[in-house]
């Protein structure tokens, strides 16, 4: 069975199937209304007792944050409107307690689900979970006791509710397989935090699996096998031990530097969007932040974030990175990214239009607010400012002049800030790459944004399926641009070049980028260990040879084939 691999790893164990059977409520007219009201009161009491226990357990096992959802469930059971309306329904319509609960729950779920608001839709799921519990209690239907699972099991379910994951015996649960859900569902998040494999969205796994069946969950490739034959079993046992060895090896690399066998060291750092992401960077051994996308500060808000709010976010990141460099990219909005409170004209070619730093020059106050916030936060760590969408040296000078204005203002206001903050640009427009030698004297660093650089240099929209095959980041044209930028930065004392596009975390590109002399690789945190492993298993001079070879090839296909052979020679397996 093929589904979505939502948490990596391989687990093999007996199936434990959670059956949430269809519950039928009693829809008859009822004479003894008082009896139904008493049943409702009993069900409320029982449900509250259960939730209090679940809440306590969740606080211990998952922490306050995760447990908060059960406190919210308890609030629903205490809600005068919810309970009041159920009582009214029972009295006015002479219906059973279970029927009343169902009607009122469905009504609220309907209201919340119809709202065009993610927050409200989540509340609908909570109310459904609570209402289901209340109905089961009113009918005396016992939940399957997931806490009593006492042998190693794979949980098979339609979907897992927060109540399910909170109560299950986590020592014995080795993996999840569910009918519905995707990478961002509750089940997926739980699986990753428990570090057990999960395959979701299998459609019929509850139907096709019985309690006690032997199940293989392969969260790497999103595959589930029920009652495998001996050959399949052997294959997966091998894959499982290989994966476990791989994970163990990567974990051992965490605190080691990204240094080649012959002593050439590079920085492996993380891309982040919010202060919360710093944790992942540190956990994976990242030694800095190579791209802090500040758009989220603006997009997750219904008004322009003020200087204070931005200052706090930047300060938080800088402090938690504890002196490691943090490259903060100024607002990159426009193109496909819009803000609800900033009116932008429709453009024929938004990707060639008023976006990023170009927009900031027009909305100068918005730009200055952000620069002031970054300058002030710089006092609390090692901040670097990076301007996106720079096409020529004049724009660099213009941006720096505005930065100087902000410094002057802060000086006059007697507010402390980082006087010597490092300034760099994102190289994503081909003209900037080609004139990197001209720009180099104006900046402290370059960071190559490969996603946009490819789009602009290759004139291809990779979201357009009819031309996306032309999106080839390892094609010699791009490699030559990358080389120009790196060389230009190294021609001037004390400057460096990083890369913060997807290519930086691509294991197939690592040897070439290393060989071209890239100083800093910035990627999603989870890619750091793998790239570090590659860098630690090679000589810098061999990587230089590989890069040279790549520059001499004619197509991306040839480059990929060559790199594949080299990785094999080094005996590096990629997962």
């Amino acid at each position: 069975m093929k589904g979505i691999g939502a948490s990596p790893g391989i687990a093999i164990a007996k199936a434990f199937v959670i059956k949430h059977e269809e519950i039928k409520v009693n829809t008859d007219k009822i004479d003894d209304i008082q009896n139904e009201l008493d049943r409702l009161a009993d069900a409320l009491e029982k449900s509250k007792d259960q939730l209090k226990k679940i809440h306590e357990q969740a606080v211990i096992e998952l922490g306050d944050e995760e447990a908060r959802i059960f406190a919210a469930h308890l609030m629903v059971l205490d809600d005068p409107e919810y309970v009041g309306q159920i009582q009214e329904a029972i009295k006015n319509q002479s219906i059973s307690a279970d029927n009343g609960i169902k009607q009122i729950t469905d009504m609220f779920v309907g209201i919340f689900e119809s709202m065009d608001d993610e927050y409200m839709k989540e509340r609908a799921a909570d109310i459904k979970d609570v209402g289901g519990r209340l109905i089961r209690n009113s009918l005396g239907i016992k939940d399957q006791d997931l806490g009593a699972i006492n042998e190693d099991s794979i949980i098979i379910a339609y979907d897992l509710t927060p109540s399910d994951t909170a109560t299950m015996n986590k020592q014995k649960v080795l993996g999840f397989a569910t009918d519905i859900g995707g990478r961002t569902s509750h089940t997926a998040i739980m699986a990753r935090s428990l570090e057990i494999p999960a395959v979701l969205g299998l459609k019929n796994v509850t139907h096709d699996t019985k309690d006690g069946d032997i199940v293989i969950v392969d969260g790497i490739d999103g595959v589930v096998v029920v009652n495998p034959d001996e050959k399949t079993m052997d294959e997966y046992l091998t894959k499982k031990s290989e994966y476990e060895a791989f994970v163990k090896e990567l974990a051992q690399l965490k605190d080691l530097p990204a240094v080649t066998l012959d002593g050439h060291e590079v920085e492996l750092v993380g891309n982040i969007g919010t202060p919360k992401d710093v944790e992942g960077v540190l956990r994976n051994g990242g030694t800095g932040v190579g791209l802090y996308r500040t758009e989220f500060l603006y997009m997750d808000s219904d008004k322009m974030p003020d200087e204070e709010k931005q200052f706090k976010a930047y300060k938080e990141v800088l402090e938690s990175m504890d002196g490691h460099p943090v490259i903060i990219r100024t607002l990159d909005i426009g193109g496909d990214k819009k803000l609800p409170y900033l009116q932008l004209d429709e453009e024929m070619n938004p990707f060639l239009g008023l976006r990023a730093v170009r927009l900031c020059f027009v909305e100068k106050n918005l730009f200055k607010t952000q620069l002031r916030a970054i300058l002030r936060a710089g006092v609390y760590g090692n901040a670097h400012i990076m301007f996106p969408m720079i096409s020529n040296v004049t724009e660099v000078k213009q941006a720096k002049a505005i930065l100087e204005e902000c410094k002057e203002e802060l000086r006059n206001e007697n507010i402390s800030f980082d006087e010597n903050i490092k300034v760099g640009i994102m190289v994503e427009i081909p003209s900037a790459a080609v004139t990197a030698d001209i720009i180099a004297s104006e900046v402290d660093f370059f960071s190559i944004g490969t996603n946009d650089l490819c789009q602009y240099a290759l004139a291809v929209d990779r979201m357009n399926e009819t031309v996306s095959y032309l999106y080839q980041p390892l094609t010699p044209a791009i490699l030559r641009l990358v080389k120009m930028v790196i060389d230009a930065s190294h021609d001037v004392e004390g400057k460096f070049t990083g890369m913060c596009g997807e290519l930086a975390g691509d294991p197939r590109a690592a040897l070439i980028l290393l060989g071209l002399g890239l100083d800093e690789f910035s990627m999603s945190a989870s890619s750091v260990p793998q790239i570090k492993k590659i860098i630690r298993s090679v000589n810098f001079k061999d990587a230089q040879e590989i890069a040279k070879k790549a520059l001499g090839l004619s197509t991306e296909e040839e480059v990929l084939a060559m790199v594949g052979e080299e990785l094999e020679k080094l005996d590096i397996k990629l997962i």
Binding site: V76, D79, F112, I127
Partner: protein
């Protein structure tokens, strides 16, 4: 019975965090408290009622209370709405 009319000023309206702040504040008073929107009464102590009420920015509502502390209750809740729940 004591009541006051007030316009919702904060961008989110009585949703999410502002809704729970409002309900928590209402819960501090003994009086029966309702929010009236378009002639419909919503129990001010019910988080689900308030959130389901769809009370968005610029809506005009009446806060009314009946009980021993009705005046304090209405004044405190109106003040909370006027403070934009700490949003700007």
């Amino acid at each position: 019975m004591f009541s006051k009319e007030v316009t919702i000023l904060n961008a989110t309206g009585l949703h999410a965090r502002p809704a729970s702040m409002f309900v928590q504040e209402a819960g501090k008073y003994k009086s029966e408290i309702n929010v009236i929107k378009d002639g419909k009464k919503i129990n001010a102590k019910s988080i689900m009622g308030i959130m389901a009420g769809g009370i968005s920015k610029d809506t005009v509502v009446t806060v009314e209370a009946d009980g021993e502390d009705e005046e304090q209750a209405v004044n405190a809740l109106v003040e909370l709405i006027e403070s934009k729940f700490g949003e700007e």
